[in-house]
């Protein structure tokens, strides 16, 4: 049994302030790994941490370990552009992403950690009449699936985001767009830390600095993981390692329909508030929001060759900036403050892979590509369900690896009108 962590509140902040903040306890424990656990989760990003939490909370599992080769939240969870939304085309996608968004809406209370969810809306811009038609198709699909989206005309877009490029020299006219009001941003580090704190309080052992180097498999069933901190026996194992999913799959002897790429993201220096919603453009591929610190957080497309380097190169960096400035010419005056890259596992149909692997007892949650942050609560929930019951939750079933054999892909790129 572990001590319940001190509740976070304004009152507690005040009380601790008087005591010089010496009374705060650890946000999460750093225990030595035990020789065996009922469930082992590999990957200490948002999805892994959420899975650990839901395993303990929803399914009451007591002996759970989360293994992270670096420091928790240090991968894509700490590197993304913090956008949350559920405006996806197919009913299966709408179900899982909106499940995640609904969990996000209650997460700060649930975890007793302010994840700073700001549902300031997200506008996707349309630059041609054809774009508007494609968007109408998407908006109708979403409305039919119960997602809160609205089609906007050019005047409405201009009202909401006056800094957008409506000038005569704009390369891409803005014809309108569509918005999801419940979409927005959340503080990525807080999501990771919040889940870690809550999971640790429920007894999950979070083991950092512990890299999985192999699996012990007998009779096609996984029995233990080999790590840089020793052998750990496991009843079931869940993989949530994003860009490294292929590496782990390779250790277990199977392949995934995934390629790992560097996705660059950038922030500008902080300025007073100028952008109150999230904006994406199909023409330039860019997305931008303004953080609560005042920095513009933006990104666009991948550095288009496989990479585990977590860094991108200058040509794509410049493309991303050019794309954003084309939408927001006044930002030309600002400066780039930080640039970095994540390691994204891009799946063929731009939908995740959740479910069993060819090895019994080994389950996987991966393939979120450039869009994993928004799905963290759902990915964790679904992986936990699989680990605890051995079965798919109805929401995760369509994303099973077998869809590549049947051909029943959930092609969100095609859904968005992007040709392959």
């Amino acid at each position: 049994m572990h001590d319940t962590p001190m509740r976070y509140s304004a009152f507690q902040l005040f009380k601790q302030g008087l005591a010089g903040h010496t009374g705060w306890g650890k946000a999460w424990r750093s225990p030595e790994p035990q020789p065996a656990y009922d469930a082992v989760i590999v990957g200490g990003g948002g999805h892994g941490l959420a899975a650990a939490y839901y395993l303990a909370r929803n399914h009451g599992l007591k002996r759970v370990a989360l293994l992270e080769k670096g420091w928790i939240g240090g991968g894509n969870t700490g590197r993304n552009t913090t956008i949350v939304r559920s405006n996806y085309f197919f009913p299966e996608s709408a179900a899982i992403y909106d499940f995640a968004l609904r969990l996000y809406e209650g997460l700060s209370q649930d975890l007793d950690y302010n994840i700073m969810l700001s549902q300031r809306g997200m506008i996707m811009l349309a630059h041609t009449e054809h774009d508007m038609e494609t968007m109408a198709r998407s908006v109708n699909a979403m409305q039919i699936n119960g997602i809160d989206v609205e089609l906007l005309d050019a005047a409405q877009v201009r009202d909401e985001v006056p800094l957008l490029n409506f000038g005569p020299d704009a390369r891409y006219e803005i014809h309108g767009g569509f918005t999801q009001r419940r979409a927005g941003v959340a503080r990525h580090d807080a999501v990771a830390w919040g889940y870690a704190r809550a999971a640790s309080a429920l007894g999950v052992d979070i083991i950092q600095g512990c890299e999985v180097t192999g699996f012990e498999i007998a009779d096609n069933r996984v029995h233990a993981v080999q790590t840089t901190r020793g052998r750990i026996a496991a009843g079931v194992v869940g993989l949530a390692a994003a860009g490294h999913s292929g590496v782990l799959a390779g250790m277990a002897g199977f392949k995934l329909p995934i390629q790992s790429y560097a996705l660059q993201a950038m922030v500008s220096e902080p300025i007073k508030p100028v952008l109150d919603t999230v904006v994406m453009s199909t023409a330039t591929g860019m997305y931008v929001s303004q953080s609560d610190k005042g920095e513009l957080v933006f990104g666009a497309g991948l550095d288009l060759y496989p990479s585990y380097a977590q860094r991108g190169n200058l040509p794509v960096e410049r493309d991303v900036v050019a794309g954003m400035l084309e939408m927001f010419p006044s930002f030309r005056r600002l400066k780039l403050l930080r640039a970095w890259a994540g390691l994204v596992d891009v799946c063929w149909d731009y939908s995740p892979i959740i479910g069993p692997t060819p090895i019994d007892g080994l389950f996987i949650n991966c393939g979120w590509g450039t869009g994993g942050f928004k799905a963290i609560p759902a990915g964790g929930w679904m992986l936990a369900y699989l680990l605890a019951t051995g079965e798919h939750h109805p929401i995760s079933a369509p994303f099973d690896l077998s869809r590549f054999t049947t051909g029943r892909l959930i092609d969100e790129a095609a859904g968005a009108g992007i040709a392959h």
Partner: protein
């Protein structure tokens, strides 16, 4: 940015090229290919962290396809090969 050695044009800058996937041989005839084999050919990737064999096209130059041996972690390029050149 990457400096990629096109086997015909020599070392050229990254923006002149397009990455074209991992090499694979088409399984034929269609009537004898199982669903699993088809799926593996279409979708499975080795996606190695480290030494990686990949197809590239010098689309902004000579337009030729070639094989590149490159490390996906360090981006060190070992060599490029023309199609059919012995490995």
């Amino acid at each position: 940015m990457l400096l990629i050695p096109c086997p015909w044009c020599g070392p050229r800058d990254e923006p002149e090229f397009v990455f074209g996937g991992e090499p694979a041989v088409r399984p034929i005839p269609a009537s004898e290919v199982s669903d699993e084999t088809c799926a593996t050919y279409l979708y499975a990737r080795s996606n190695e962290k480290g030494f990686h064999r990949e197809l590239w096209c010098h689309s902004g130059g000579c337009g030729q396809w070639f094989l590149l041996e490159r490390d996906t972690l360090t981006h060190v390029i070992h060599r490029s090969l023309k199609p059919g050149e012995p490995a």
